[in-house]
């Protein structure tokens, strides 16, 4: 039964790799309460979700570079080849455009491919298939061809990998009708959203984060159940507050939660929203929160222009203008291709202090 699978995976897998990764920049945030006894890394959460969905539905199959024999470039697909065989776990030749096209073709026929990009940066080589062959197909074929495909992989900045390995694609994919775009933060998010994505009849872009793979989160018994899934399009209030709303997704949720801790000590109560879903965006939840707090800071790793924060700001201005007591602030990555040198890289991505200062600015507690 899947609960026991989950438990086995969680206990065995807090590895040296995990410890190495945790040495960098991200800390697990445990400020939200849980009655869970289990801890699970995001990697194991994704892996267990894949195992369970492949077990439940023979049409689900995995393809990508190094997903089989190598157990996955980031070990997300570990054990799948042994258990489900080479017909369902396909190591592809190196052509993102090629295997995205092939995955879409398989989905046209009725299979449910889960296509892995080693990083979403490489998805740009396949973006025509993602948008023109997958996202638009149901519409262009007048409902005759639906494409139940999931494109997944690490998105956004890692550590010291430079410009061509660090871009965040949430805004680009989030703009496209026909796609659903998800960005999990915790292990529960990872399990629930990946299962929902695989079961969904529409094409889903599933944006993971390399630095989160090794992070451990508490996970409830309910989330360990094989039938668990999270609804697509619903954000989660990670921390309730009344003075300022902070929206974030993926790794930035952790930063926002840390910022909220720091702000609490200074008397500012921040409400942290984990978007979970970039498209569809949970506008009702965001607006409801802003109507409560009257102030908004959006946080994302990606480039500032046309970013996710820009869309959230527009939504709030359109729907909750009279509730705002201060202009919306966006914390984003710098408007430069990601540099490599450690000091420059640190300056090019948001840090917890940036979020704290922005919250204080919108609360008029400081002018800088």
């Amino acid at each position: 039964m899947s609960g026991s699978i989950g438990r086995t995976m969680a206990s065995g897998k807090i590895s040296t790799l995990n410890k190495f990764l945790m040495g960098s920049r991200v800390f697990a945030s445990r400020t939200y309460s849980s009655t869970a006894k289990e801890m699970m890394t995001v990697r194991d959460a994704l892996n267990s979700a894949l195992h369970e969905e492949m077990s439940a539905d023979p049409k689900v199959f995995v393809m990508g570079e190094e997903v089989g024999e190598y157990q996955g470039a980031y070990k997300i697909t570990k054990g799948l080849l042994d258990k489900y065989g080479p017909d369902r776990v396909i190591d592809t030749p190196i052509t993102e455009a090629g295997f995205a096209g092939i995955g879409v073709g398989a989905a046209y026929y009725g299979l449910k491919p889960v296509v892995e990009f080693m990083t979403f940066n490489f998805s740009m080589q396949a973006i025509d298939h993602i948008i023109n062959s997958a996202a638009k197909s149901n519409y262009m074929s007048a409902g005759q061809i639906n494409v139940p495909i999931v494109f997944r992989g690490p998105n956004g900045a890692a550590a010291g990998v430079g410009a061509q390995h660090s871009q965040c694609y949430a805004a680009w994919y989030g703009a496209c009708p026909g796609l659903k775009v998800l960005a999990p933060y915790s292990s529960e998010d990872a399990r629930g959203l990946l299962k929902a994505a695989i079961r969904d009849p529409d094409p889903v872009v599933f944006l993971e984060n390399e630095l989160l793979y090794g992070e451990s989160f508490p996970i409830s018994a309910e989330a360990l159940d094989s039938s668990f899934s999270l609804p697509i399009g619903k954000a989660k209030i990670e921390r309730e507050g009344k003075d300022v709303t902070i929206t974030a997704f993926s790794k930035m949720v952790g930063y926002a939660l840390q910022a909220a801790e720091i702000l609490a000590k200074e008397g500012i109560s921040a409400e942290v929203i984990n978007l979970r879903s970039v498209r569809p965006l949970d506008r009702p939840a965001i607006n409801a929160s802003v109507r409560k707090t009257s102030r908004l800071v959006t946080v994302e790793e990606g480039f500032p222009q046309h970013g996710v924060g820009a869309e959230i700001c527009a939504s709030v201005v359109e729907e909750s203008f009279e509730y705002l007591d201060a202009p919306v602030e966006r914390i984003t990555g710098a408007d430069v291709p990601m540099p490599y040198a450690a000091n420059l890289e640190r300056l090019a991505v948001p840090q917890v202090e940036d979020v704290v200062r922005a919250a204080k600015r919108v609360c008029y507690r400081s002018s800088n």
Binding site: F99, G101, I102, G105, Y108, Y109, M140, S141
Partner: protein, 454 residues
């Protein structure tokens, strides 16, 4: 049956090294065994044949990842071209008589007459819909003039359960499978009966019912998709294949490389049919690739290939029948290069007289017409006559004109179709947008001519 195929194809391949060796006496490296290969297996060592004797050390092979390779101490480059191009399979002479001792499928009277009628229907539909665009009644059109044999004969050789992924010059395949002229015309006019719900520009047909995947404009995407479809068919053990069409230009796209490469590695039952019609808009084949056409590329992927006279109905029919059998029974891709000529312009946005001589176009339109050639064949067999010809032509013309009239006068699709099918279920934001759009139209009727649609 498989062993018969083995023998015949082995002997064909034995001829290849001569064709390829060219002036510099380059040697074709390696000869494949025809059993299927796993990742772990190696290619068989090249046997020492007469052609190799002067350059290869007997019994000396080098071990490398991928298998053993014979040594040579003579530095010889494999020529980029041979004096003889790969031959083209043809069965029907220009006068409609069969080439004696040719190998081909036997086609009965009914199938032959049906194929001919379909070719005439395709040509007539193209003629009138092209005109309709010129008159401003539809926005765009693409004809298949000169390629009627490829369209109809290939479709006829397939099973209706084979999944077809066309490029855009294969409307005849749909017609053969039962998609009507009216349905084609509805799509071009984007009316409420359009099976595509008015979503796509003209000629971008698709029909799940007829196992034809909706046409997509980005070139060659259907090639890699077809490898995926074929893989799924194989896993499902359907006993059918996938068929992707492309033009000569499409073979330059990355998807061609990925699709063929993958299909070979995955051992997928897919037929790649390339309509080499000499032109990609204004780019002639000499500026598209420097290989011996497209058939020569098959070897580069480890794919069995054939070049066929695309204007010869019987040759195309026979080649596709054979290709299909091999693809399905041996679970491998096949590449078919059908040589032809694009008699029409690339599309209504093109005037090909600007980049090629009108007498060349005229020559291919008349002297090399596939329709005329096949007509001669069926008349020789006593299956057709001048009377039947005029009867068919007037019937088809009437059918097409009526279809256009009906399609043009029909209402456009409902406003709801703007918002459906973006996702499987219409999401709340689109439901809201639809309501708000209807509201806006009600408030400002002058700005929205609602009588034009449902």
């Amino acid at each position: 049956m498989a062993s018969w195929l083995l023998r015949s194809t082995t002997s064909t391949l034995r001829k290849l090294p001569v064709a390829f060796s060219g002036k510099s006496t380059g040697v074709l490296v390696g000869r494949r065994n025809f059993g299927s290969m796993d990742a772990g297996q190696k290619l068989d060592p090249c046997s020492c044949e007469d052609d190799y004797r002067d350059t290869v050390y007997q019994n000396q092979d080098l071990d490398f990842p991928g298998g053993k390779i014979p040594l040579t101490s003579q530095m010889k480059f494999i020529s980029e071209a041979s004096d003889k191009r790969l031959p083209c399979y043809r069965v029907l002479n220009d006068d409609g008589s069969l080439i004696s001792n040719s190998i081909h499928e036997q086609i009965g009277q009914e199938v032959a007459v049906n194929m001919y009628s379909a070719m005439v229907t395709l040509k007539t539909m193209d003629t009138f819909l092209y005109e309709a665009q010129r008159q401003g009644r539809i926005s765009f059109y693409m004809t298949s003039f000169g390629e009627e044999a490829i369209n109809i004969a290939s479709a006829a050789a397939l099973s209706p359960h084979d999944i077809v992924l066309p490029q855009y010059r294969e409307a005849g395949v749909l017609l053969w499978r039962g998609f009507t002229v009216q349905e084609c015309t509805n799509q071009c006019f984007g009316n409420k009966d359009d099976k595509g719900k008015g979503r796509q520009m003209p000629v971008h047909y698709g029909s799940k019912k007829h196992n034809v995947i909706t046409i997509s404009s980005p070139l060659a995407t259907q090639i890699s998709q077809a490898a995926g479809v074929a893989y799924s068919l194989k896993m499902d053990k359907r006993g059918t294949c996938a068929v992707a069409y492309t033009g000569d230009g499409g073979t330059s796209e990355g998807d061609f490389h990925a699709g063929l490469n993958f299909a070979a590695v995955m051992e997928a039952p897919v037929i790649f049919i390339c309509r080499n019609n000499g032109w990609a808009i204004s780019t002639p084949v000499h500026e598209q690739f420097r290989s011996d056409g497209v058939v020569a590329k098959g070897l580069g992927y480890g794919i069995r290939s054939i070049r066929v006279d695309g204007n010869d109905v019987i040759a195309v029919y026979s080649a596709i029948c054979a290709a299909r059998n091999i693809a399905i029974s041996e679970e491998r891709p096949i590449l078919v290069e059908a040589m032809t000529y694009r008699v029409g312009h690339h599309s209504t946005s093109d005037d090909s007289t600007k980049y090629r001589p009108t007498n060349e176009i005229e020559y291919w339109k008349t002297a090399r017409s596939p329709v005329a050639r096949f007509r001669k064949y069926i008349q020789r067999n006593g299956w057709w006559s001048d009377d039947k010809e005029s009867e068919l032509c007037s019937y088809v013309k009437k059918q097409v004109l009526q279809a256009i009239k009906t399609a043009e006068e029909m209402e456009k699709p409902s406003l709801t179709e703007l918002f459906t099918d973006v996702y499987e279920q219409m999401p709340p934001n689109l439901q809201e947008q639809e309501m708000s759009t209807r509201d806006t139209i009600k408030k400002h009727p002058k700005d929205y001519p609602i009588d034009a649609h449902v």
